[in-house]
Amino acid sequence: MNIIRIEHIAKIYQVGSEEVHALRDVSLTIDKNEYVAIMGPSGSGKSTLMNILGCLDTPTKGLYDFKGINVSEMTDNELANIRNREIGFVFQTFNLLPRSNALHNVELPLIYSGVSSSDRKEKALEALEKVQLSDRVTHKPNELSGGQRQRVAIARALVTSPAIILADEPTGNLDTKTGEDIMALFNELHHQGNTIILVTHEEYIAEHANRIIRIRDGMIESDTEVRNRIIPKAHNVEN
């Protein structure tokens, strides 16, 4: 079943009097429970593609069908709703609210979808347990290590049970070992049935996925299955 189907998408930015074609003509589909890596050098258009897939931005041309709904012409509020319920973001720089503790950070998407505070707490604690942070619930981001912060961010992405998890260079700010732990966590989430889209420029990280889509100059350069997937092993999570 397709979760994502995009057809002939283009994104053109107006920079002064010049038109910049960030994406020229991209078509792809992503099925439920796929684990896809999007790769490309900087300036290739992979960030633009990620923003469009994440409903942070809309394409200039083309169709974007998300779970059977055309999102390419949605209003800001409708996009906010889709982001809230269907997409879990994981960023390179974690993007947690610095002054809020882990629990509140994880609760935030539920606040915006109008879940009552008792349900919210329950779900947030559950999500934090999934990423093995039950003992760090009241810690603020600056009291957590990089890996722990990223796991809080993953808990936040998971808490609404989204249709896709969109991770943008999730290991970019982590050391190798911690990065490996995070990749192990993604692997596990994939096993549990989640659909994961991983944006990266590192070949090694991309090879954790089932499929690699390479972008260059705003076009898909290749779209291949990964034969020898890297199966990461957790180093029994640091605390």
Binding site: N51, G54, L56, D57, D76, N77, A80, N81, R83, N84, R85, F89, F91, N95, L96, L97, R99, S100, L108, P109, I111, Y112, S113, G114, R156
Partner: protein, 413 residues
């Protein structure tokens, strides 16, 4: 509906958290509003106090009175130079009037002079001394702290007796003393027969009974002026407000006879009424009010600009946070209400602090003689003003925050 309430509640919680996180800045920002609300509330208390004091002053003069005078007291159509050329009202005029007028319940003359009043070493300088007759008390609503007004006998015999207003008594005598004492008015001895209770009409100036000394009109003429030098005022009291019009009608006729006017001559006197005084007072209070609110409004406006400014800075600084919130599903409306709520809460806190200080200031001012009145309206005023300022000055920054593009906002460092 439910979801809107929910959003408001969450918006408030988020805002409180943000305010707590930026304590020093919130306090400094609030200062402008504290000062603004303080100024507005103190101002409004003062205006209310002045107004109340005016009204009390008017009612202490008696509400059904007419004042026959050479001058029209309030905005008259008659030019002042014509009034200046009128003959003075004399004691003879008063006596004839009193004889002829049938309707008034009381009639008394008033003649003023400014003198120094002394008791032993205490001096009340430039005191308004009013010469009148025993009947004067019946033209007013004055009451006594101790003693009495002078009698007809004393008045007819031009005895050296005096009735003293409460403020003058405070200057000259110990608390509770005075009646039976001898005071000196410009070296003439007068026996104090009565002290008025406080009338509280601080702003009435010469009209304020608290600041007057009443003596017999005979003593007034004997010691303080020759018979015809100044014009006197005839105080006329009607039985009730319904009779005022008839009393006035009769007074005009009687006065024309007294003054010997022919049918084609215009009145050479004016009949003044409290209505005139009241409308004068209301317009005076109105002017004070407007001036006060323009001045205090300006300070509030400066406070509001301060809030707006700091909210813009806050939005700029929290661009990334706004990006994060939007990425995980905050709608425009949510961000908008979050920032407006934040600004409203800051202002409300400021308003409460301002209110607190303004209550302190009002209580302190009440200890002086300045009329100021404290009442619950001040709370409503402070709360509503600070809420309005908060929402008003928070709106533009909040709108800016709500329309940020999530992609750009997330990229902001």
């Amino acid at each position: 509906m439910n979801s809107i309430l929910f959003e408001i509640k969450e918006g408030l919680l988020i805002s409180l958290r943000a305010i707590k996180a930026n304590k020093i800045r919130s306090v400094l920002t609030t200062l402008g509003i504290v000062i603004g609300v303080f100024a507005v509330v103190v101002m409004s208390n003062a205006v209310r106090g002045i107004d109340k004091s005016f009204q009390e002053g008017v009612s202490s003069l008696g509400s059904d009175n007419l004042y026959i005078d050479k001058w029209a007291w309030f905005n008259s159509e008659i030019p002042w130079w014509e009034m200046r050329n009128r003959k003075n009202l004399t004691l003879e005029d008063f006596e004839k009037f009193k004889e002829l007028a049938r309707l008034p319940v009381a009639v008394a003359p008033s003649m003023w002079s400014t003198e120094n009043v002394k008791y032993e070493d205490e001096i009340a300088q430039f005191t308004n001394v009013q010469g009148t007759t025993a009947e004067y008390i019946e033209t007013t609503n004055l009451d006594f702290e101790s003693g009495r007004f002078f009698t007809e006998l004393e008045s007819n015999a031009s005895r050296n007796v005096a009735v003293i207003g409460s403020a003058i008594a405070d200057v000259l005598f110990e608390e509770g003393q005075g009646v039976g004492y001898e005071i000196e008015i410009e070296n003439k001895k007068f026996k104090v027969v009565g002290i008025l209770s406080e009338q509280g009409s601080h702003v009435m100036g010469n009209f304020n009974p608290d600041n007057q000394v009443y003596i017999t009109i005979g003593s007034m003429f004997k010691y303080f002026m020759s018979t015809h030098r100044r014009s006197l005022t005839i105080n006329v009291r009607a039985g009730s407000s319904l009779e005022v019009a008839d009393v006035k009608e009769e007074a005009i006729g009687v006065m024309r006879r007294v003054r010997g006017l022919k049918f084609n001559e215009i009145n050479d006197f004016s009949i003044n009424q409290q209505e005139g005084l009241l409308s004068e007072i209301n317009s005076t209070v109105g002017v004070i009010q407007i001036a006060g609110f323009i001045i205090t409004g300006l300070s509030l406006f400066v406070g509001a600009i301060g809030i707006m400014n700091i909210m813009f800075v806050s939005v700029k600084e929290r661009t990334k946070e706004i990006g994060i919130r939007k990425a995980i599903g905050a709608k425009k409306r949510t961000i908008l209400s979050q920032f407006i709520a934040e600004s409203a809460i800051i202002c409300l806190l400021g308003g409460m602090i301002g209110l607190f200080f303004s209550v302190l200031a009002t209580l302190m001012i009440q200890n002086t003689d300045f009329p100021i009145s404290l009442d619950f309206d001040a709370v409503i005023l402070a709360v509503s003003i600070s809420l309005i300022v908060g929402v008003f000055s928070g709106f533009a920054p909040a709108y800016k925050a709500s329309t940020l593009d999530p992609v750009d906002a997330l990229r902001y460092e």
